[in-house]
Amino acid sequence: MKVILNSEQIEQILKDLAGRIISESPRELDIAVIGIRSRGEILAQRLSGRLTRQLGKDVPYGTLDITLYRDDLNSPQGTAQPQVRTTEIGFDVDDKIIILVDDVLYTGRSARAAMDALIDLGRPRAIKLAVLVDRVGREFPIQADYAGYKADAAPGELVQVFLSESDGKEEVVIE
């Protein structure tokens, strides 16, 4: 097991991501942050806090459950049985810049599912993808707009993100 990010580095990445999101988003447009369950939700919440403070206007956050949009639901290769949980987005996504947040971008399949799920909720002005860790191994033509740490993990390895709210500790490891 190798620790690739510690707690300070995670905070620094979130700070950088927030800075880049602000500098690249037109001031006149509304931004909202939506996290993919489960750890994307926590990161989205932290990002929304930073953006709200720095922009001086409310940047709401929500949570997206992508289970119903997964591409392995009816496939015998789908190993785990995913539990359907709730999507909680208390604002209108129409015409907003949606910052979609996940902890790790790997195959791109979750991001694909999340985009389909989002579009069923309305028509955002744009969807931008922000991730803490950008891991090599894409299976879909999807790239992050705002990527934190670039990890070069081997196919059998596992990149795991631990966050204090859910795991009681704050680090990213490869095992």
Partner: protein
């Protein structure tokens, strides 16, 4: 690390994570839903938790999600139904399945044979899920043993109506938080009610105390074998209960004269405004529909502030989506 996370959100995230850890151990494995008697409390709670995730599909801009895309659901109803049938059809289409409505009025052939013949025809069409309602108890079980598709019981004889039981406990859980320790009266024609049976299994498994209330002529036999207490007087129980579920008098099933007159029944077992005055202020009033207004329940009560009758219908949709989703998942992972 952010210090701006309020304690409420913190607590919620912990709950979600606890749920996630728990659900990792649990796996839904039934490709048929035939009744609630055979389900564990854990399985029932898993369905209810899953249903929560389906509620929002009905409230957003595109009221459809793709998990049953390319699947075919057959509504095989040998008895009349509006609510259940439409609810299943809508639930299946919201999950992107194709729905076939199969109506077959009872023929002169014995019901068992008709059913299996029909089943073979359905198999030949390549369907994935059969939702069946039949006048004979055990019909869905018989079907499940003879076809490869998933089978969901939408009511069989006087035995079970599992999705009604599930939507009832879902509604109670949503409003009261838990069923643990609640006193629930199920009132009316218990003998002919599959709803009463499915409710009884689900409610008692989740920790509620169930009281069957009605005239002796409308009580089932062998009551002592069931996990319920019995009362022949609504006035005796009305003050004690947290939830009251008023069953419909099913005139189409009643033989003989189980009660002297409709008026007398209504006098002793109807939920009237007068009786409601003696009930707990937060009593939940339920009815599986369709209501005989003025008979088992006065209109003022059916439309009153304690009534959750329309919420039951709305919740039924989410519960049925969850059941369709889960049986299909179990089938997909068996291949």
């Amino acid at each position: 690390m952010s210090k701006r996370i309020d304690s409420f959100t913190h607590k919620r995230i912990h709950e979600i994570m606890a749920l996630k850890r728990k659900s990792k151990q649990f796996k839904w494995q039934r490709k048929h839903l035939l009744g609630l008697r055979e389900l564990s409390a854990e399985e029932i709670i898993y369905i209810l938790d899953t249903a929560k995730g389906f509620e929002q599909i009905s409230t957003r801009s595109v009221k459809k999600a793709p998990p049953l895309r390319g699947k075919v659901v057959v509504n095989l109803f040998f008895e009349d139904s509006t609510r259940t049938r439409n609810s299943f059809a809508l639930a299946a289409s919201r999950l992107s399945a194709d729905v076939i409505e199969f109506t077959e009025k009872a023929s002169s052939v014995s019901k068992g044979e008709t059913l299996l013949d029909t089943a073979r025809n359905l198999e030949a069409m390549g369907i994935d899920i059969v939702v069946i309602r039949h006048g004979a108890g055990g019909a869905s079980k018989l079907l499940s043993r003879n076809i490869n598709a998933c089978v969901i019981n939408a009511g069989d004889g006087f035995c079970e109506h599992p999705t009604q039981g599930l939507l009832d406990v879902y509604t109670i859980r949503k409003i009261k938080g838990t069923l643990e320790g609640l006193k629930i009266a199920i009132v009316g024609d218990i003998a002919h009610s599959r709803v009463a049976r499915s409710d009884m299994w689900a409610m008692t498994k989740l920790g509620a105390e169930v009281i069957f209330v009605g005239p002796p002529t409308l009580m089932p036999t062998q009551l002592s074998r069931l996990p319920v207490s019995v009362s022949y007087s609504l006035d005796e129980v009305i003050e004690k209960v947290d939830v009251i579920n008023m069953l419909r008098i099913q005139f189409e099933r009643l033989g003989g004269n189980p009660f002297p007159s409709v008026r007398e029944y209504s006098h002793y077992f109807g939920l009237t405004v007068e009786r409601m005055k003696r009930a707990k202020p937060d009593i939940m009033v339920m009815h599986p529909g369709p209501i005989n207004r003025g008979l088992e329940m006065e209109s003022e009560v059916a439309d009153g502030q304690n009534s959750v009758i329309l919420e039951q219908v709305t919740n039924g949709l989410a519960v049925r989506m969850a059941v369709l989703f889960l049986v299909n998942q179990a089938a997909a992972q068996r291949h």
